[in-house]
């Protein structure tokens, strides 16, 4: 089984990010949060061994459909692994950012991923495609370094009570907190 990932980001400024930034910085009073970026990620699992055999069909889906990304609206990057750094248009840290974490939110019932897999198999004949899952990536940019930045990211990741957490409701979603350097910039730690 070989996985590839497609990262998708709006070309235009993203109002969702502004809303979350406003909620966290103003309503929650977390002034150390200096920026929020949002992108969508699609993870496609293929029943193949070589990475190229997974990249090719994914490029077909991107070229033939707007299921994963719409070129009129989105910029996107196909990655064969998370160690591959993203291009600057997808993400680069803003000014004054000391720490940045990614909160990856995945719906427990992922109908969007199922839909893509079904269409890719039935209409494009991509039979090696086993599954597709989609997640939202929230990049939390902070003016603080470790360990406070991780602590803040974990605090906003999962909704526990009103005013405590926001990005994932654990009753229907799951959240994973990963260093932005590790996930997006090809670094470690």
């Amino acid at each position: 089984m070989t996985d590839v990932e497609v990262l998708v980001k709006l070309v235009a400024p993203d109002p969702w990010s502004f809303t979350v930034y406003d909620a966290l910085s103003r309503k929650f009073g977390l002034e150390e949060i200096v920026g929020i970026e949002r992108m969508r990620t699609w993870s496609l699992s293929y029943d193949v061994v070589a990475a190229d055999d997974a990249v090719g069909p994914t490029e077909t889906i991107l070229r033939e459909t707007v299921l994963l990304a719409n070129p009129n609206r989105d910029i996107r990057q196909l990655r064969a692994g998370a160690s591959e750094p993203v291009k600057p248009g997808i993400y680069e840290p803003g000014d004054g950012v000391v720490g940045a974490y990614v909160v990856k939110v995945h719906n427990l019932w992922d109908s969007a991923g199922e839909k893509v897999a079904r269409i890719a198999r039935s209409r494009l004949g991509i039979d090696a495609l086993r599954s597709v899952s989609s997640s939202t990536l929230w990049v939390i940019e902070m003016s603080r370094g470790e360990p406070r930045s991780r602590e803040l990211a974990e605090r906003v990741a999962v909704l526990e009570a009103r005013g405590a957490g926001l990005l994932a409701n654990p009753h229907c979603q799951e959240a994973e907190v990963v260093s932005a350097r590790e996930y997006l910039l090809g670094g470690s730690g």
């Binding site: 109002p15 969702w16 809303t19 979350v20 909620a23 309503k27 929650f28 719906n107 427990l108 019932w109 109908s111 969007a112 199922e114 839909k115 909704l159 526990e160 009570a161 009103r162 005013g163 926001l166 990005l167 409701n169 654990p170 009753h171 229907c172 979603q173």
Partner: protein
């Protein structure tokens, strides 16, 4: 003096006007207040309705951002005094995200209104459904005037309406505590787990859930869209469809109370007797 109801207008809701009209039809004074009005304005009301729509464009999740607004401080405070709070559709999502429903542990978010699964796929779904009163009517502010087991046809329109929780035994506790206010059922009143009667795959067939006190209710179907007989389709099985057919030649009869008016009427009686 008529009970005063506040219909809270968050940015992106789209049912505030018909909700206010339905509340007025039930004999209440209803005002639409924007979410960012001075907080003391909200304390002048006897009850609150959070209407349907797409507050904040459903950013993050349906209801998630509205639940963080400051106006909720007042709504929580007023609800603690026993004033009724009804969240309809998006309003229900806001109440769940704010932790007011089911409210078994104060302040905690104990459930979600998750994407529909009833159709065997996700997505938005609109139709008429049947609701059965599944608690003792005097338990909640919106069933006060209803009969035990009464059946109401009410329209739904949502993409995320499935009451669910990762907490073991939560729904059993809600059943025991009489907090499942309405259940989806067939036209004869038999609760039904499967689509299309249960349109979104909601656990325990829940269409509306209250807090333990019964004054805060999250309800996915839209009672304001069936507050008049003329809004009810004649082809609906049961007495409400028959009433609509029998009214078709009379403008006056068409203006009679529809099934949704029973919900708003209950709210009025509850306020008159309890608040």
């Amino acid at each position: 003096m008529k009970p005063r109801i506040c219909v809270v207008q968050f940015p992106g809701v789209n049912c505030e006007y018909e909700t206010a009209r339905a509340a007025r039809k039930a004999g209440m004074d209803a005002d639409i207040l924007r979410w960012n009005e001075p907080l003391e304005e909200f304390t002048k009301f006897d009850g609150f309705i959070l209407p349907g729509g797409f507050s904040y464009q459903d950013r993050v999740r349906a209801g998630a951002i509205a639940a963080t607004d400051e106006v909720f401080e007042v709504i929580i405070e007023q609800a603690a005094k026993g004033k009724p709070v009804l969240g309809i559709c998006n309003g229900a999502q806001v109440l769940v995200e704010a932790g007011l429903v089911p409210g078994l542990e104060e302040g905690k978010v104990q459930m979600a209104l998750a994407p529909n699964t009833g159709m065997g796929r996700g997505g938005y779904y609109c139709n008429w459904v049947y609701l059965r009163v599944s608690c003792a009517p005097a338990r909640t502010a919106i069933t006060w005037d209803l009969e035990p087991g009464e059946i109401l046809p009410v329209p739904i329109a949502h993409g995320e309406g499935r009451f669910t929780s990762c907490l073991d035994g939560l729904f059993e506790s809600l059943e025991t505590g009489g907090q499942i206010v309405f259940k989806y059922c067939d036209s004869g009143g038999v609760p039904a787990e499967a689509f299309p009667e249960n349109p979104n795959g909601s656990e325990h067939m829940a269409a509306a859930i209250s807090n333990p006190a019964g004054n805060v209710v999250a309800m996915m179907p839209h009672p304001e869209r069936c507050a008049w007989v003329r809004q009810v389709p004649g082809e609906l099985a049961g007495p409400w469809g028959e009433k609509r057919l029998a009214s078709r030649l009379s403008a006056r009869a068409m203006d009679d109370d529809g099934p949704g008016a029973r919900v708003f009427g209950s709210m009025r009686t509850y306020i008159e007797e309890k608040v």
